[in-house]
Symmetry: none
Subunit: 317 residues, 2 copies
DNA sequence: TTTGCTCATGAGCAATTACTCACCAAATGG
DNA sequence: CCATTTGGTGAGTAATTGCTCATGAGCAAA
């Protein structure tokens, strides 16, 4: 844009007005009086000072850096909601900070007066967040699990989040009476046809907000550690370009669900719409960098709660 | 489990709200919505952030008139560094504006990569400036107090700047374990002979930059108000031609230290060299005109941060 | 357990600020 | 020289913010 020569004195006046307003804390009326102009003009000068960035505001608090990172992430990836918590260099925990922030966000949703459907996935991080929840009564809301609560050996799964949630939150809750992975696509169809499962799937599709963990792959990743996949299956997945998983749905580095028999055996509900609802991923940590990045760029999630280090990685790469 | 409203968490919220308001430019309604609180609470958090000095506002524009005044002052008095901030006609504060400008200058020095010795005097204005400092880590620098930190009644002095500074700035700091005024010249010699005091005095003599307030005399001046001098002592001083003081060192209208028993009882370190280092005075206001003028013409300081009105006085007289 | 204190909260209202509109004056350009 | 553009102004009004008050929760002392 062709910048014309501004009236030279005007910026000076703007600076003076801005100073009087922000530093000295005078009202625009007082500024107008002391500069001999109308109140409106004083207002214009003040906003000009802001627009011309003559006024520098700095926030002197550790949280400032996090907010800045969150803003950048939101812009870069077009996310709906981003929260960045400070990294704790001394801790190797994958949940500290995130759990609290996640719980606070869950609580904010549950405190809404209008009835909502809140869906939850699985994972250690999400479990940790749910464990931070205070007791809340919200009989109007419904809480639904996207993933099955049955482990490969038939027991209740290790990280079934919805039951922990039900302990704290008084609301109707809908677990998913299925394993995470079934033996074949056919079996999945059969199970999903059951009335009970059907209705839970229907509710999950209406979720207003969804909280999911993001799992990394590899023989140390949750799918292997929890016994859902054998090492050789995992190896094959990784050879096929798999980068991470959410509720068992495995995606590649671009965040696209991969075309592999294993994805056809996932009995979890589909991840609710990222267009019409809020899908919040909770994850941090170097081992998950690749998975988180994939989930964000491929829009498996549209909101993120993570830590500073991870945020910086996502912005750099 | 259950969470409570802790004070630290509240400050974090305040920081977040302040950031959203001042940096991100959201309205308080939007902030309230995104933080899940009422608008009133959001407003309170924002004003808390201001009250807690989490928000630092700085004007990044050399206002022409101020620059011009600063230039003239520098020329007229041969000063090294002069900063003039706009006068706020409606305010009787002796610190508004100067404090921010002083803090910015201190910060500039502390951000230097090479190790420096920074000396500080005392006074309300200087205290206000130091209170504006953000947290800085500068383990290479040393910060030394020129004046004692013990009040006449034996308590820590009202305006002991170095401890406030130590709160914000991570650097080695050297307080002066002495009163400002001792009972006799002999006592001063005795105290100054102590090893600890000796080494602090030595460091102060090496100061690369010094920040001092300039005190006016009179029964409303700081020396009387803070109880260092009795009224009759003050009256006698003024009859003797005293015009102002820096760190307790009392000088006449020509800026020469006066020949009076009281000056022999000042236990402060001598003001560091105005030939080989930078000695910056912070002061404004009609009551201080005479003292500031004396300090400048007598070269008790070689740099000045003041306001327009004071600058104009100094140029006229 | 009761009492009293502190402090956060939401509501309502007053003060302050931002924005839009219509108009004017000086520069610009044919 | 006039039409046009640019930039500024005040008025009026909508939006936003700041403040006071009544209330209730948490907590410590009695």
């Amino acid at each position: 844009m062709a910048k014309r020569t501004e009236t030279p004195g005007r910026l000076d006046d703007a600076a003076r007005a801005g100073w009087l307003y922000y530093v000295a804390g005078r009202t625009q009326d007082e500024i107008a009086a002391s500069m001999g102009i109308s109140r409106q003009s004083a207002q214009r000068l003040v906003s000009l000072a802001v627009a011309e960035r003559l006024i520098k505001v700095r926030l002197d608090h550790p949280i400032a850096a996090c907010l800045e990172l969150a803003n950048q992430l939101r812009r870069k990836f077009g996310l709906k909601y981003v929260e960045v918590v400070p990294s704790d260099p001394g801790s190797s925990s994958t949940t500290v900070g995130i759990a609290e922030a996640g719980a606070a966000e869950i609580e904010r949703w549950l405190k809404r007066p209008e009835p909502i459907v809140l869906a939850v996935g699985t994972g250690r991080t999400l479990k940790a967040a749910v464990d931070q929840l205070p007791a809340i009564e919200c009989p109007n809301h419904r809480i639904v699990s996207l993933t099955g609560n049955i482990a490969p050996d038939g027991s209740a799964a290790y990280y079934n989040v919805i039951f922990s949630m039900a302990d704290a939150v008084k609301a109707r809750h809908y677990p998913m009476p299925l394993p995470v992975l079934v033996t074949s696509a056919e079996e999945r169809e059969l199970l999903h046809g059951q009335q009970l499962v059907r209705s839970t799937l229907d509710i999950s599709a209406q979720a207003d907000v969804t909280f999911v963990g993001i799992g990394e792959l590899g023989i140390d990743g949750p799918l292997c550690v929890d016994g859902f996949l054998e090492k050789d299956e995992m190896m094959e997945l990784m050879r096929g370009g798999a980068a991470g998983e959410i509720c068992g749905w495995i995606f590649d580095a671009d965040g696209k669900l991969i075309d592999n028999p294993i994805n056809e055996r996932v009995a979890s509900a589909p991840i609710p719409s990222r267009e019409s609802s809020t899908v919040i991923g909770l994850a941090k940590g170097k081992r998950k960098y690749k998975a988180i990045r994939a989930a964000v760029v491929g829009r498996q999630i549209n909101s993120l709660i993570t830590d500073e280090d991870t945020a910086e990685f996502l912005l750099r790469n």
